[in-house]
């Protein structure tokens, strides 16, 4: 999914201080309609504080937030109506059914009657709980609760959907279902802000990623842009049964290949874009009569980017 048109969310220079501790320090980014923006950072980096300010849950000490062109603050009902918020906790009443929960939250957003009923059915079907709407949330599995939690955020058809670590503590199957669901929102034209400390989720879902650490946005862009920012290169591993030195010598002069190393059983290339040199490698092997057993492109991932930018691992 890719964003189009005017930004749905604009935030600039967000600041939040708790006593002597600076929780958020000058964070700013934009999200366009249909774009999924990932806020990536370890626990305690300032992700939840940032989105709490974006959603008007928390008073900010500085900065500006506009959603759908309207300023957001604690009492900004117009702007809040355009935001769908999915908190990290399962923010549902266990003793009520999913449908009853959604009815209550829907009414808080002004939905009534047949329209409310239709939205509840839609939201439950989107998250795959259409046949379990009349069951108490307390009887759900962890993954189902997470999905019901997302349904409550979707109910009023928001322009911006904010999901705060929606896959924490769920099984792989439920995680896959949640990621598929979220990917669908972008295709529907919704702007999505997705916070996570799972690098693979950000890589899979997000058009752009903001890397946040100790309250600061230390880098922002597409995965490739981020990799480029840190001077990253893809590694291409070629395994073969014949002589590697001849192939290595030929590839060293090829465009897009910066470095070639010979190892036992093959060679390893350092390339600006690994996939683009695959044809070059295959053609060179054909010319030299070298039989290639396999080629693997190892891209520099966001985990490595994060490590490079902050000096620490994402899951620290």
């Amino acid at each position: 999914m890719t964003g189009t048109g005017e930004p749905v969310l604009v935030c600039r220079d967000l600041r939040k201080q708790y006593g002597d501790r600076t929780a958020v320090n000058g964070v700013g980014f934009e999200i366009a309609a249909g774009e999924c923006y990932g806020l990536l950072g370890p626990n305690g980096a300032g992700k939840t504080t940032t989105i709490s300010m974006l959603c008007g849950l928390l008073h900010r000490d500085g900065g500006e937030v506009l959603v759908d062109g309207r300023p957001v603050h604690e009492g900004a009902t117009d702007a809040k109506a355009a935001i769908g918020y999915v908190p990290q906790d399962i923010a549902l009443y266990d003793e009520l059914t999913a449908a009853d929960n959604l009815t209550f939250f829907g009414r808080l957003y002004g939905l009534e009657g047949a329209h409310l009923k239709a939205r509840i059915e839609f939201a439950l079907s989107v998250v795959g709980l259409a046949d379990r709407g009349d069951d108490r949330v307390g009887s759900y599995s962890g993954g189902m609760k997470r999905r019901a939690n997302i349904a409550a955020g979707l109910l009023h058809d928001p322009k911006l959907l904010v999901l705060d670590e929606p896959t924490v503590g769920v099984d792989p199957q439920s995680r896959h279902a949640i990621l598929e669901t979220v990917a669908g929102f972008g295709r529907e034209g919704m702007a999505v802000l997705y916070t996570t400390h799972y690098m693979e989720e950000a890589e899979r879902l997000c058009d752009r990623v903001g890397v946040i650490d100790e309250g600061r946005l230390v880098a922002e862009g597409t995965r490739r842009e981020l990799v480029a920012q840190v001077g990253g290169r893809d590694r291409v591993r070629v395994s073969m049964s014949g002589s590697a030195s001849e192939l290595a010598a030929r590839l060293r002069t090829s465009e897009g290949i910066e470095q070639v190393e010979v190892h036992e059983g093959g060679i390893e290339l350092l390339a600006t874009e690994g996939r683009r040199v695959l044809r070059t490698v295959v053609d060179a092997a054909d010319v030299l009569g070298v039989e290639v057993d396999g080629i693997e492109v190892v891209q520099l991932d966001l985990e490595a980017v994060f490590l490079h930018l902050t000096g620490k691992a994402l899951r620290d």
Binding site: G75, I90, L108
Partner: protein, 395 residues
Amino acid sequence: MGTALLIARHDLRRRLRDRTAIVTAFIAPLVMASIVGFAFGRTSGGGYLRIAIADEDRTAASSGAIDNVIASAGLGKVFVLARVPTEAAARAQFTSGTAGAAVVVHRGFSGLFTGQVQGTPVLVEAITSDRRTYAQQVAQSVVRGLYGVVSSNALAVRTAFTTVTVTPSQVEAVGAAARAQPPPMRIVDDGIEPRKSLLGYFGPAMAIVFLFLGIGAGARSLLGERDTGTLARLKAAPIGMGRVVAGKVGAVLALAMLSIVVVWVATTVAFGAYWGPALAVLALSAATVLAFGGIALFLTVSSKTPAQSDATMAIVAFVLALLGGNFFPPGSLPPLLQRLALATPNGWALQGFGNLALDKGGFHDILPALVVLLVIGAVIGAAALTRLRSLVEMS
């Protein structure tokens, strides 16, 4: 306003699905009120305190005086004066505990009416024990009542015959007419059984104890929403925080009010309890709910953890209940504790409910209690709401 009502309705619905809340708000106060009310109501076969009275004078004058005091037994909704045939029977009932105290009208009592008593013999005797202080006070009141009949009678006779010569039959006729007049301590009998009035007192007394615990649980569940995240979802919705707080607190107070009303209706319908005039009972109940709502909310939002809140609420509830006299019959506390009771909100509330149920008072009789309770509710409630709003905004 609509959103606050929506939140309040939603919270009430959730609370009514919680069995603990049902037990605390309705079942426990009903059971306790019934047990305590019946316990005191059955002790003496109708009133909760029985005083045995024996007439050893056996004259028309003594019998008339006793009848007069029994008919007016004013204090009367909380004790029963029961005639027994002899002094020995009265003493036996006192000894066995069937009667809390005994009063004996000795031979020669009627002489007091005609001034024919020589010296200062004991003509009315109260048999009591220091360990039964309340019964002792009541027995002394009965004795004073009997002498009150004598005094009013003698005054009537003296007034009638100051300047004329009369015959003994004329003196007896005027004396009989005077004895028929009520004594100075007369309180009108309204025909409501003592036990029903007592239930009307212990009903609210027990409801107040559990009301406090119930409000505390409600306030705690509100803070629980902060931990579960539903409060964050409410804050994210396009509604003002004032409405969220108003809805949440409104639900807690509404359940508390409902709790009192259910205990009131149930004790009235099931046991024939008399709490007082409906409007006055509702007003006093509402003021009590506001006062206790303010205190419970303040204690809850001042606690750091749910466990601390639970412990604080339980301690404060039972200390207030003991000091305020929720577990004791009206007027049975020593004078110092009776004064101390008025330092507690439940002491004031019980005084108001006592005025309505036992003294058969009306709205004007509970005005002091209403004012005190409303002031407590307003002052402590405002502090609690300020703190609550701050907690909600920071969560």
